[in-house]
């Protein structure tokens, strides 16, 4: 099983990446003009109050020292304290991570459920009416701004038809899933257009390719040619594309979270940036980065599992 050996040593390669990200974020957020203390105090801020708050959160220390403390904390599995929420960043993130995770997962699943059959349909009727319709819809669908799409879905499905809740996040698992349908659909609609296009192209290439020819030359029925040979081979390039997109999604759900009032990480991040809650920005960035790295890692594992040629 030496093909899978990278599972052991790859995580070591993550460390420099995460270190780089922590450093860049650290510098970046401190370059932003504005002061968390002032944001906290709002309109009634006075210089003495500001100085007190800055001292309390160590913001009056030299920046390299602040970074040193940050790393020191990190080594002990801590990420500092939120200035706005007054609790540990990790605890704060723990309370907000689930909706984002659930949203991304369900959106990805939903987009696969939409994309795989449609791409198959289009590829198999290459040049036919079904193909034209799928191509048109997927090409056209790429350009919809997500927040607009989201509002349209709410107005249509929730207000007109009263099928789904307008917004929010439920309490029980079933309730949560029910609340996630529309937000996931919003993301899935745009994600699936990308997947459809990639998958369809790969499938058409495979259907015309040597592999399919060889299978047909053996008298294999078209269904076997498609499902056993064309499909797996077309999936390989799509997995990577999907991984990249999930990476984007993880940090980019804020608009959908905001429209559907999902108490997730995206909203946390935006508010943290606006209120200069340095530690929270830092923590969320690290979590997002870890998630992205992890997704790519998983994609690599899946690719290796599907495609025996790939060596990492």
């Amino acid at each position: 099983m030496h093909r899978y050996k990278f599972v052991l040593y790859r995580p070591l390669q993550f460390l420099p990446v995460l270190f780089g990200i922590s450093l860049i974020t650290f510098i970046l957020v401190r370059l932003i003009p504005g002061d968390p203390a002032r944001v906290l105090l709002g309109t009634r801020s006075t210089p003495s109050a500001i100085a007190a708050i800055r001292a309390q959160y160590g913001l009056d220390q030299p920046i390299w020292l602040q970074y040193f403390y940050f790393l020191q904390n990190l080594a002990q599995g801590e990420m500092g304290k939120s200035i706005l929420y007054k609790i540990d960043v990790l605890r704060l993130i723990a309370t907000r991570i689930e909706p984002t995770l659930a949203l991304v997962l369900s959106a990805v699943l939903l987009s696969l459920v939409i994309a795989v059959p449609l791409a198959s349909l289009a590829a198999r009727s290459n040049g036919g009416p079904a193909d034209h319709i799928v191509r048109f819809v997927s090409t056209f669908g790429i350009g919809f701004p997500p927040f607009w799409l989201a509002l349209m879905l709410i107005i249509f499905f929730s207000v007109r038809l009263d099928l789904f809740p307008v917004s929010g996040y439920g309490e029980t698992v079933a309730d949560k899933l029910y609340h996630l349908i529309l937000p996931a659909l919003t993301i899935a609609l745009s994600l699936s257009t990308v997947l459809i296009r990639s998958l369809r192209t790969a499938m058409i290439a495979e259907l015309k390719g040597d592999l399919a020819t060889a299978a047909r030359a053996r008298g294999m029925p078209e269904s076997i040619v498609f499902w056993r040979h064309v499909m797996p081979n077309s999936l390989v390039p799509t997995i990577n594309l999907l991984a990249v997109n999930i990476g984007w999604l993880i940090g980019g759900t804020v608009v959908v979270e905001s429209v559907f009032a999902l108490p997730g990480m995206g909203q946390l991040l935006v508010r943290a940036i606006f209120s200069r809650d340095y530690m929270v920005v830092q923590g969320v960035a690290m979590v997002f980065a870890c998630a992205t790295v992890l997704v790519n890692f998983i994609a690599d594992i899946v690719t290796v599992a599907i495609d025996p040629r790939v060596k990492q």
């Binding site: 990446v17 509002l151 296009r197």
Partner: protein, 278 residues
């Protein structure tokens, strides 16, 4: 000139997708260039008496909450949005091409360093970067371009690098080397032109991504400075009227979708023409 274009025209004519895409883009370009002539009203002039008028003959797309003519705003917005799509892609494209070429061709340490940087950027949450840069430099297009350029080049670099890795083993690269051609000459004159097709095709879908990112930024209220007419901002601002004055969001929204459609079609067509599979 015409003679040189003839084969290109022939190639385009045989591809309805490409043709449709190019025509769409050409229309937008025309509208953008001719905006002062085409637009019936001043896009930023407010008229308190004409607020929230539904579409009519005098205001085909209606008016917004300031009584500004949406049709004129959409037309002027073409300028800004075309610019967003193009500039938002050109810089990443240039940076990515150079980096990808160097990393792919030179390999070794250069490659390792660039690949690590790329790893970091890929894992870097885009939103953090975008919002920080906007916060640092202030909202507006230049911050947006910078943020896009800082992140966007990665895709191009990766595409070009992958091509370069293949092409540098091509016999004509070896031949050039054995003939004593300089590294830059081999990279940029011989290999790059053969490696770039994939990036050109990708840049079209990238234009769409840039447009949508711009719209998302507008949603968060960090888009272009008012009162400039920009579609993303128009959609975002018109949101509050979505149930009462649908036309405020619909027309700029449709413009984004249509322009994106134009880029996608062109990208598909180019991919077909250049034999690129994404």
């Amino acid at each position: 000139m015409t003679a040189a274009l003839a084969p290109a025209w022939k190639a385009v004519r045989r591809r309805p997708t490409l043709l449709a895409g190019l025509i769409l883009l050409a229309i937008f370009l025309f509208v953008a260039l001719m905006a002062p002539v085409i637009a019936p009203y001043d896009p930023i002039l407010q008229n308190g008496d004409l607020r929230l008028q539904p579409p009519s003959w005098s205001h085909p797309f209606g008016t917004d909450n300031f009584g500004r003519d949406i049709f004129s705003r959409v037309i002027w917005g073409t300028r800004v949005d075309l610019q967003i799509a193009v500039i938002g892609v050109v810089f990443p494209f240039l940076i990515g091409t150079v980096v990808g070429t160097l990393a792919g061709y030179l390999g070794g340490k250069v490659d390792i360093v660039f690949m690590r940087v790329i790893d970091i950027i890929l894992a870097f949450p885009f939103l953090v970067l975008m919002l920080s840069i906007i916060a640092i430099l202030g909202p507006g297009l230049q911050s947006f371009y910078i943020a896009m350029a800082l992140v966007g080049w990665v895709s191009y670099a990766r595409l070009i690098r992958a091509q370069m890795l293949v092409l540098k083993t091509a016999d004509y690269a070896t031949a050039a080397l054995s003939l004593g051609f300089s590294g830059p000459r081999i990279m940029f004159r011989h290999l790059l032109p053969n490696a770039i097709a994939g990036s050109v095709v990708f840049s079209m879908s990238d234009c769409v991504l840039v447009l949508l990112s711009g719209a998302a930024i507008s949603y968060l209220g960090l888009g272009v400075q008012p009162p400039v007419a920009e579609w993303g901002v128009m959609v975002a601002e018109g949101q509050s009227f979505i149930t009462t004055a649908w036309w405020i969001t619909l027309f700029p929204g449709l413009s984004i979708v249509t322009l994106a459609f134009g880029f996608s079609l062109t990208g598909d067509g180019l991919g077909d023409l250049l034999g690129v599979r994404e």
